[in-house]
């Protein structure tokens, strides 16, 4: 069948194979097929048993390494997150503690100040009361003195007016009468 085929460019070929177009020379087919099968099977076995597992293992190992590294990074990140949380908790605790201490101190100081103020006030009140008592006493004393002075003055005035000194009792009664009004 091959003899009919000529070259595509149309001019006579000069090869050893008597002018047939080489891809259609059927007498070469058996040889080509035998060697193709041998070469292809050999290559297939070499690839599937040797070369491809080698490449596949490298890729697997790399993938595993990458996955491992990512997992490790994740674990480390979780760890650091934990540390941050612990730190923040410690900070919050310390802040609360400080607040508590400050509050306590302030309350204590306020209480002490209040107590001091109270004693001072009591002291002052006592002093005030005492002073008022003194004033009252002085006033009473003064009032009794006023009576004496008034009696003396009355006596002197009456003596001057009528020439004779009235009796002490009359003067005292009159003064007392006048003071009552």
């Amino acid at each position: 069948m091959a003899e009919q085929h000529n070259t595509s460019t149309g001019h006579a070929p000069a090869g050893e194979h008597k002018g047939a177009f080489p891809p259609f020379q059927s007498e070469t087919y058996a040889s080509q097929l035998v060697w193709l099968v041998l070469a292809f099977v050999l290559l297939f076995v070499l690839m599937s048993k040797w070369a491809l597992p080698r490449v596949g293992n490298i890729l697997d190992a790399r993938q595993k390494r990458i996955d491992g590294d990512i997992a490790e990074a994740g674990a480390l990140k979780a760890q650091s997150d934990e540390a941050v949380a612990a730190y923040e908790k410690a900070l919050a605790d310390a802040r609360a503690n400080a607040q508590a201490i400050a509050n306590e101190t302030r309350d204590k100081q306020a209480a002490a100040a209040e107590a001091r103020r109270k004693t001072l006030e009591d002291d002052l009140n006592a002093k005030l009361a005492e002073a008022e008592k003194t004033i009252a006493a002085t006033k009473t004393a003064a009032m009794s003195n006023v009576r004496g002075i008034a009696e003396d003055a009355t006596r002197a005035i009456v003596e001057r007016l009528i020439g004779t000194a009235p009796s002490d009792k009359a003067v005292a009664d009159a003064v007392a009468d006048a003071l009552k009004r």
């Binding site: 193709l36 070469a39 050999l42 290559l43 070499l46 599937s48 490449v55």
Partner: protein, 251 residues
């Protein structure tokens, strides 16, 4: 006659190996380049992974890249169940890619420029899909040809078309790769032939004018490098799509 664009596809007998019936099995240049590809691929992967470093070097990066590239293709097209075919798809992809790339080197031979090679690979894929589909799903595998929700009236037509497209897969699968490699190499050789032709016909002026087809070769070379990769990738991804049918036949 180096200008003959077909010359590069010649099968050169190196030494005979055996006789099967009256067919002679000969070790040819094609076989030599196949085994060269096997050696190159194996060396690339094994030497690349020799150090097993966590942070890969250049060669290890390339080896890992090829592995992950094919693995991603298989997983995204045929699902995680398709990963059982990963060594098969990887072997196919690397084999085709490597023989394509080796074929780009001047004076070498392109294994995939022979239809028998690409057809054998495509039929291997086809049979793998068929046998695995039957093994995995039994006769339910043929549900692949019966799409759901199709009116019963046109169902026979649809089934016929589905079966036809399934059966013609190995043809399109193999011819696509074969034709791409063949056409690319012929084009390169034709432009290279222009340089010789102009040089021998017009002397110094011709050699100077040869700069134009030479520039064309440079551009085509870049294109062919892309095609070499792309065709290997297309072959691999189509394999994945077909395998996906075997794994999940219910559309």
């Amino acid at each position: 006659m180096a200008a003959d664009p077909i010359h590069q596809f010649r099968i050169v007998d190196l030494f005979p190996v055996a006789h099967i019936g009256h067919t002679e099995i000969i070790f040819t240049n094609s076989a030599a380049f196949m085994f060269a590809a096997v050696i190159v691929i194996t060396a690339f992967l094994v030497i690349g992974t020799a150090k097993k470093s966590l942070v890969p070097g250049r060669l290890q990066s390339a080896a890992e890249l090829s592995y992950e590239f094919v693995a991603t293709t298989v997983r995204s097209t045929a699902g995680s169940e398709g990963m059982r075919f990963f060594p098969f798809v990887f072997t196919l992809f690397m084999f085709i890619l490597t023989v394509n790339f080796i074929g780009l080197v001047p004076f070498t031979f392109t294994v995939t420029s022979h239809i028998i090679v690409t057809a054998a690979l495509a039929i291997t894929v086809f049979l793998t899909v068929l046998l695995y589909g039957l093994y995995r799903h039994g006769l339910h595998f043929f549900n692949l040809f019966v799409p759901k929700g199709v009116p019963i009236l046109i169902l026979p037509l649809i089934v016929f078309i589905e079966v036809l497209s399934f059966v013609s897969r190995p043809i399109s699968h193999s011819v696509r790769l074969f034709a791409n490699m063949l056409a690319g190499h012929i084009t390169l050789q034709v432009f290279a032939g222009f340089i010789i032709l102009m040089g021998s016909a017009m002397g110094a002026v011709g050699w100077a004018g040869g700069i134009l087809p030479f520039g064309m070769i440079v551009i085509l070379m870049a294109l062919e490098t892309l095609v070499a990769f792309l065709q290997a990738y297309v072959f691999a991804i189509l394999t994945c799509i077909y395998l996906n049918d075997a794994i999940h036949p219910g559309h």
